[in-house]
């Protein structure tokens, strides 16, 4: 089932250089990346123009928009666990992911018809439900389709394509509005079409895998999914480390706002800072994924938080110019590249066979909840200590947490290296 775009691997051929990037990753992973790219173009193009659409075309109140925005962020975390569970239970990750992608595409049909506030809320809720459902089964498929020794790279390639879509979406949307300032419908039609292409590509070109049944030895199907499967000590340790670092991850919004308060350049480019972070993310995704495969995924996951630490530090340093802003965006992008796909790879690696999707979903939910606590807690800290002091406290706490996490993950790295070694030797013997 393992398909390589490169065809046969000439590992033993003398003088054959180790190829880089896309070519050593399963074509199914690349296809899933393309599906994510299309879906992200769709979602992010709509998200980018939503404030304009709500305020200028619908004439809705701005407070109402804040409400929509909060909803947008919150809904997907709730259903993520459900998506992971359904995927493992049915042993059909492709079709659960398909349902999630299809739901988001269908939501965009409603967007063409929605004229009021309530209708818009319904559309956004359904779109986010789709995202929540599909994430874990999709990541489980990537795990199933990947060679365990380069799982980090597989996720790197997927996240790179995914983030290219997220960076392209707003640009396409604003290009359309540049040509037709009132062309919101055109943006929605384009979003619907790209989402539909994503669903078509997934449905027709991605093979239907049944990880649990395929893992069966001598026709004996492994026990069906149970929550108990998630009590693997390595998975629990991973969740603890991810949760510890997550409660100190206060979000890009804070970094952007701090930069905006300090320089005219940042204020002028404020609406586009997140595009800069996305560009850095997709540039670093594959190299960091490879690094994770080489050095140990848990190690790169923890070290990635050093980039976040430096970005926080940059917001309190006494100097701030264009170079500082660019450095901050690069650091945030590096942080996502070293942690987002790598965490999914780690969860996929440690979750028992047949529980991959729930393992990934549970880990991602721990991080999402931890970050929610972080942003709320930071608000309180800002209130009591002021911006600069609050940032200093979080920076110091994160420094300490990284040190603790570096110790806690030691067993995880050994496990990772051992597994990769076992895989390599198995491969060598064939």
């Amino acid at each position: 089932m393992y398909i390589s775009l490169e065809g046969d691997e000439h590992r033993d051929a003398p003088g054959s250089a180790r190829k880089t990037g896309l070519v050593r990753v399963s074509s199914v992973v690349v296809t899933l990346g393309v599906v994510s790219l299309l879906t992200d173009v769709s979602s992010e193009s709509v998200a980018a123009i939503l404030p304009l659409y709500v305020t200028s075309a619908l004439g809705l109140s701005t407070i109402a928009y804040g409400f929509i925005d909060g909803l947008y962020q919150g809904v997907s975390a709730i259903v993520r666990i459900g998506g992971g569970w359904a995927s493992d239970r049915a042993d059909r990750p492709k079709w659960i992911a398909f349902a999630g992608y299809a739901l988001s595409a269908v939501a965009k049909i409603w967007l063409l018809l929605a004229t009021g506030f309530a209708a818009l809320i319904a559309v956004i809720t359904v779109d986010r439900l789709g995202k929540g459902i599909r994430t874990a089964p999709r990541d489980a498929l990537i795990t199933a389709e990947s060679d365990p020794s380069n799982l980090g790279r597989s996720f790197g390639v997927h996240r790179m394509l995914d983030t290219i879509g997220a960076a392209l979406g707003p640009l396409i949307a604003f290009l359309i509005l540049w040509l037709v300032p009132t062309g919101y419908t055109v943006v929605f039609v384009v979003a619907l079409a790209t989402a539909a292409v994503g669903v078509v590509v997934l449905g027709l070109l991605v093979p239907d895998r049944q990880p649990r049944r395929e893992g069966a030895i001598d026709g004996h199907v492994r026990t069906p999914f149970r929550w108990r499967n998630l009590t693997d000590p390595r998975l629990r340790r991973l969740m603890a480390v991810a949760g510890l670092l997550g409660v100190l991850t206060i979000g890009d919004g804070f970094v952007y706002l701090s930069l905006q308060a300090r320089t005219d350049f940042a204020a002028q480019w404020f609406p586009l800072l997140y595009v800069g972070t996305n560009v850095a993310f997709f540039l670093f995704a594959v190299p960091f994924g490879r690094l994770a495969d080489r050095l140990g995924r848990a190690r790169v996951f923890v070290w990635g938080h050093i980039a976040l630490l430096l970005a926080y530090a940059a917001t309190v340093l006494p100097f701030g110019g264009t170079a500082t802003i660019v450095a901050c965006l690069l650091l945030l992008g590096a942080f996502y590249a070293a942690t987002d796909g790598v965490l999914a790879a780690l969860a996929g690696q440690f979750a028992p066979q047949g529980s991959t999707a729930s393992g990934i979903a549970a880990t991602q939910t721990v991080v999402a909840l931890a970050r929610l606590i972080a942003s709320t807690g930071f608000g309180v800290l800002w209130f009591t200590l002021g911006r600069a002091n609050a940032a200093l406290v979080v920076t110091a706490a994160l420094m300490l947490a990284i040190a603790v996490a570096a110790v806690l993950i030691r067993p995880l790295n050994r496990a990772g290296v051992r597994e990769a070694a076992r895989h390599d030797s198995a491969r060598g013997s064939v």
């Binding site: 509005l177 540049w178 952007y256």
Partner: protein, 339 residues
């Protein structure tokens, strides 16, 4: 289905979907171009030199056709008459005898937002980048100070939610900064919470005193600002986007009359001497910073029904005696200029 057949089918469907969307886009672009090239649906003229010294209403022209989105003016005596359309494009505009503030969406593949101050001849004096979609702007009666409000948008990953940024600056180069850096006092207590937001400044005849809206914890207040002391003090809860009358005796604002989480605004007028508030008989939802045409009439914009991107300016007596009448059709963001 064989893998090859699947690939072919996927290719055909992709071409159909993307081709269909592109075709729709091209048709819409062509339709927009032809609308733009068509003569305006209202009577317009280029800059006529004699209008510059007339008492006039300056506004954003939203009439379909040539001149859409441009700054235009009509004589106060003949608001329905031929409009003089300039070359300046703004999403929100405010003009006095000597200065123009222009808030704009600078469209492009990378879309940004800006505020520009121009002099009488249309020469740019100052400009600022905005952190999001333009909202409100005002110039002090003596043209010495400007204020502008924008939303803070574009943080896709952020969890900041709704927020606004409001700045005050002098025309000769001084920046007073974001109102968030002013000390806010509500009902006698200092408010320093993170979710403070400010919008909709109105200047008084005294250059040191202004009014604005403050918000925190889901509540809003009308606040009185002191520029030298850098303080904001609450006067009344539930009053947004204030606008002071030319004689300085009353403040008109939008008042949230909704009983649900979704806001619905009416126009109210507060008498500063007596503290009496009168809600005007306008049943539609008014989301604008209203403007005093004179000491007895209030102007405001309302979106035109079923016509995205178009709006009309309405006039209503400030004493609440009668309902609104249309004042200038296909127009937005009015200001009164009396040379």
């Amino acid at each position: 289905m064989s893998p090859r057949a699947r690939l072919v089918l996927a290719g055909i469907l992709t071409l159909l979907l993307l081709g269909g969307a592109s075709a729709y886009g091209v048709v819409e672009i062509a339709a927009y171009r032809s609308r733009l090239a068509a003569p305006s649906q209202v009577r317009t003229t280029g800059t006529a030199p004699d209008t510059a010294n007339q008492a006039r209403i300056v506004f954003r022209n939203t009439a379909t056709g040539a001149g859409y989105g441009r700054v235009a003016s009509v004589p106060i005596a003949r608001p329905g008459g031929t409009r003089t359309v300039t070359d300046l494009t703004c999403d929100r505009v405010y003009e006095t005898v000597s200065r123009t503030m222009c808030l704009r969406i600078d469209r492009g593949i990378v879309t940004t937002f800006s505020a520009t101050l121009l002099d009488k001849a249309g020469v740019v004096q100052r400009s600022w980048g905005l952190p999001g979609i333009p909202s409100r702007t005002r110039i002090a009666p003596d043209s010495s100070l400007v204020a502008f409000t924008s939303f803070v948008t574009g943080t896709s990953y952020a969890t900041v939610g709704f927020s606004t940024a409001t700045f005050i600056a002098s025309v000769d180069g001084r920046d007073y900064g974001n109102l968030e850096s002013f000390a806010l006092t509500v009902e006698g207590r200092p408010v320093t919470s993170l979710d403070r937001n400010f919008w909709g400044v109105t200047f008084t005849a005294d250059d040191n005193i202004f009014y604005a809206t403050a918000a925190s914890g889901g509540r809003t207040w009308l606040v009185r600002g002191d520029l030298a002391a850098r303080t904001l003090t609450s006067l009344r809860q539930g009053a947004e986007c204030p606008s002071i009358s030319p004689d300085g005796s009353r403040i008109a604002y939008k008042k949230n009359v909704s009983t649900s989480a979704i806001a619905y605004w009416s126009i109210a007028v507060l008498n500063l001497k007596t503290g009496e508030e009168a809600v005007l008989p306008e049943k539609r939802n008014v989301d604008d910073q209203v403007l005093w045409l004179d000491d007895s009439t209030i102007l405001y914009g309302l979106p035109t029904a079923d016509q995205p991107g178009d709006s009309d300016i309405w006039a209503i007596p400030s004493d609440g005696s009668t309902g609104a009448r249309p004042f200038i059709e296909h127009a937005w963001s009015p200001s009164v200029v009396r040379p």
